[in-house]
Every structure is written in C-alpha cells, then in structure tokens.
Amino acid sequence: MAILVTEKTRVVVQGITGSQGAFHTGLMKEYSSDFVVAGVTPGKGGQELDGTPVYNSVAEAVREQQVNTSVIFVPPPFAADAILEAVDAELDLVICITEGIPVLDMMKVKHAMKDSKTRLIGPNCPGVITPGIGKIGIMPANIHSTGKIGIISRSGTLTYEAVDQITKAGLGQTTCVGIGGDPINGTQHLDVVKMFAEDPATEGIVLIGEIGGDAEEQAALWIKENYKKPVVGFIAGLTAPPGKRMGHAGAIVGGGDRTGQEKVAYLEDCGIKMVQSPSDIGEAMLTFFN
C-alpha cells in the first residue's frame, strides 16, 4: 500500500512541451514506463513527445487516455489556469511543481476548489513518489527505496536528505510527499499525516517543516491525539531573522506566528522526536525499529 500515487494512477503532464515539462516527463517515464500516458499543451494537440500523445486540453486527455492525475510544469503566469482546468476536468489529484505563482492567484484557486473532489499538492513542490510504483515530480529517483516510512516536507532538497538517510538506514519509504513552500498551498502537513495514518504499510512518519505559519503545529496536535506510530520531525530556519523571507514565500515569521524555537518545542510536546540537524533524521527513525 501507499498513498496518493498507486497502481491506478494515470498521469497527464500539463506543459509537456516546455523545456522543464519535456525533461521531467522523460525522467518520470524512465522510472515507471507506463505511468505518464498523456501530455497537454493548448494549441499543440495531435503531436507526440517521445511516444506520449499531446492533447489540447485536460478534458481531452481524460476522454482519450482516462487520466486521473496531473502534474503541472507551466510557467507561473499560467499555472493557476492550469490547476483550475485540471480541477474542472475532475481529476483525483493535481500536483503543481511550478514555483512563483502569485499569492492572490492561489487564493482564488483554493476558493474555487472548495466543493471539488480534486486534491491539489503544491505549488512550488518536488512532487510525490511511491517507490517501486511511480514518480510524479522532479525528485531524483535513485535515492528512494521501497519500505515503510512516509515522508512529508515543505522543501525539496531537505526531503531528499531525509529520503537518502531513510534508504541508507534500510527502512525505505511508502510514499514521499512534497507539499511545497508557498504560504497558500493545496495540501497541508495534517492532510498527509491523516492519509499515512490510514495506510497500514506506513509504520512511521518523517515530518519536515519550516518557520512561518502553523501548519506543522496543526499536524502535531492531531498526531498527539491520534497517531501512535513513531514520528521524527525537523524544522528549518530557526536562525532566520523575523520578517525576512527565506527563499520560500512561506518561510517567513510574521505577526502572531510562533518563532522557530517555539515551533520545535510545540512539536516536541506533541510527542514528535525532533532532530537538530537534517543529518540526524535517519538515525532518529532507526532508534524506533531496533
């Protein structure tokens, strides 16, 4: 078992003919050849990209290839439109890789999605991978291994650090979910924690967060009350000065937010084993399994 990305997933790449889209479509197909079944670039329907048919719209890709999941590589000015098109086509899952979407666009998207059945992951995220089944996103495939740990993170390279160590510790991953570094995103830590809790194959969770907002705290509170399996946590940005945006638009401590240290203390109080350095994630998780 796994979450979000399973054997039933059929992927359409929105923005497949762009340089990022084309490049990563190749890598995704290399990992799981029958996973990406369609691409969409408005106006370029009828073409093929390395054997993958390109359509003018997501709806057409649904009709022709029964896709249920999309991954978005279109540039920021058009990304909100791409998400809404995928939602309109009633896909189960939309993963938006694009970085730099205006906040007000994402606010509109989120409100438009209120009554939809679609789950959005991202934007500004590395994507989702279920090792051995399929990869949807830009993460390096070779560091992953099948196993029993679920990983949730706001950041790309920090996820890779955690994945690499969990692999080297011999534990492997069920699914790794990058939820993205923007202040308004589709799926929060808490949503993913709940999914992992319902997945019998997931025997522990790595939760990686950042300064700013209180999404990590919400997940931690739920874990305290509902989740009995081990959780290892890490928060990045403890030394960042307040009011300065650290690369990710979401990584900024604003009025009313806990400081980084307060966030770590809160997660610790909820029973999460917090590590000081991302280098210690694998070892910390391994202590629960020896």
Binding site: I138, G181, G237, P241, Q276, S277
Partner: protein
Amino acid sequence: MLIHEYQARDLFAQYNIPVTERKVFESIEGVKEYATELGQCVVKAQVHAGGRGKGGGVKFAPTPEKAVEHANNILGMDLVTHQTGPEGCHVSTIILVPGLDIAKEYYLAITIDRATQCPYIIASTEGGMDIEEVAESTPEKIAKIKVDPSAGCWPYIGRKVAEALELEGKNARIVAGIAQNLYKMFIEKDCSIVEVNPLVVTEQDEVYAIDGKVNFDSNALYRQKDIVALRDEKEEEPLEVEASKHDLAYIKLDGNVACMVNGAGLAMATMDMIQISGGSPANFLDVGGTATPARVEEAFRILLKDPKVEGILINVFGGIVRCDLVAEGVITAVKNIGNIDLPIVIRLSGTNSTEGKALLAESDLTFETADSLNEAAAKIVAAVKK
C-alpha cells in the same frame, strides 16, 4: 517589494482614499516656500524601514523656519530604527505634509491570513502606535474582519470596519468606503500587506490617511509594471539587488560564514547548523535547481563581496542538479576570480557526488570536504575560528 510613504499616499489617492497634499524634496531648495504655503507642517524622512518617528526621522514644524531646520537635519542623516541595524539607513528624500490638528488616530490594514487563506481587514482604535505592541498588550482592541475573496468586499464589510472603529454618521460612511477602496487596491495591485497607520479624524472632523506602508507580492510583479517602476534600489541591500539580477535567492545576514546551498529548505537548515556549531551565517543563498557552472560562479562572486565573510561552506544535495557540474562550477569560479584566501568546506551528496568529489580532488583548489551537513558545519566553523 516595498515602496515609500509618498508613493503609498499617491496610490491611496488613485483609489479615492483621502490623503493630504505632499511635496517630495531631495535638497533643501524650495522647502521654505512650501512650508510657508502649508503653515504648520511635518517633515518626514522617506526610507523603507519602519519606526522612523522614534528614530528622529519625522518632525513637526510649527513655523517655516523650523521646517527648514528639520529638513536640514533629516536630509543626509543615517536614520537608525529598530528595523535598520546600528549603521542606520541614509536619508536622501523627505516629504513635507500639512500639520493637522488630530482628534483621533486609527489603524487600518489588509493582509492574507494563512490559516483561512482569506484576506482580513484589521482595524483598531489604537492608531499611530506599533500595532504589534497593541496586539500584545490589548488584543481586544484589534478587530479582524474576514473577506471571502470570491464574493469580494461588499458595503456591509465596510460598515463592520466603521463599527469596529466606533465611528458614527458621516465619518462612519467615509471610513466604510475607505475600507472598500483599500480592499480594491489590495487585490488589483497584488499587495501582500497594505497598512494605513494612522488613519485620522481631525478637529475639523475630516478623515485622512496620513501614513501608509504597502508591500507587494514579488511573484506578481510581472503583471504590475507601474508598481515595479516605483522600486527604489537604494533602499535595498546592494548584494541582494545584484543577486536578484542573476535570479539567485540571496539574503544578507550579519555573520562571517558564507554558505551556498541548493534548495531553500536545505539552505535554511545549513544556516541553522552553522549557528548550532558555534558559528554565525553570513547569508542565505539558494542557487536553485539549475546550478550551472555560470550560476555557481555568480553566487561565489556575490558571497565574496561581503567583507565580513571569513569562510565558505558549500552544501549541495544533487538531485536533478548534478554534483559534478557543481564541482566544475566551483573550480572555474575560483580560477576566474583568482586567489580566494578563505577556508572552503564542500559537501556534495546525491547524484554524481563521487564524480564531483574526484574532480575537486584532481583540481589544485585548497578545501576540505565533508560527508554530512553536521560535519561540514563543524569543519567550517573550526576553520574560521583559527
């Protein structure tokens, strides 16, 4: 992206939010004439940092002579506030505005609440003060009014704002309209925060926005050409301006250990580890997902321009970015830049890290390597302390 107070006032005026007249000066020339025209006036330093009043950058002038004296003192001063650091920021522009007889000051702002993912109008009867202090000491005096972004800011929301500010009659109607107009501006101009502090009612019972702070969503600037034109690079950290031209996410900090990392999360974690190891990070720098040799070189040049830097830590987890290309970038950068007489610690992990390490070993660079972030941070901190 931040703008100056006078630019914020002009934007307010565009949205029919009442502001008083103002004139911008970069020298003393004309100050006396305009001050004479205004009668009593206020001289205000135009810098992006907050806390100008407490730092001596805002002065009331009852006479034109006083206005000239204040203008002379403020123009050219290095204004120190809680947001500037001890060296302060240089004042090259001032404005003169009429000195009003203020009866009551209010606070009005709009920002997006992350938890509900909606805009909120924030209103308080305690205007003119630091709103974070008000939130701390008397949170009941701050009203937070949610706006559903799909419905927009209807008149009843304006009325709620006026009620929260305990206004009645004519002024309630005016402030309700101001709240709606401010919301319109917030949405149309892709603001991340707009703040009117204070909004005042005068003894003559007139309403004015007499100070404003506006910040814009940098992701949306591509569609806000008129806002981009207001950018004042003088107000920004020069190294950050230069980095942004090369599309590098760089933030200057006060420490002496520079770091170059791929990915924002890992870059933050690297800064943290430098601190935990007993050092002090000089910057945040995310070279991003396309760390080509040219970008690595640009990043190196920017790091080296900070005179406080005494050592460099390079931490790259190769994913799509290949470690051998990063290594190549470092080698070329050092070669092109010339003698770098600083300790360098390099940690390469992930895709092609073995090849990357081999390239570094073959080069004639002097550096240390590390396998983990912990080890890398400890090594660079130790090297800097030597």
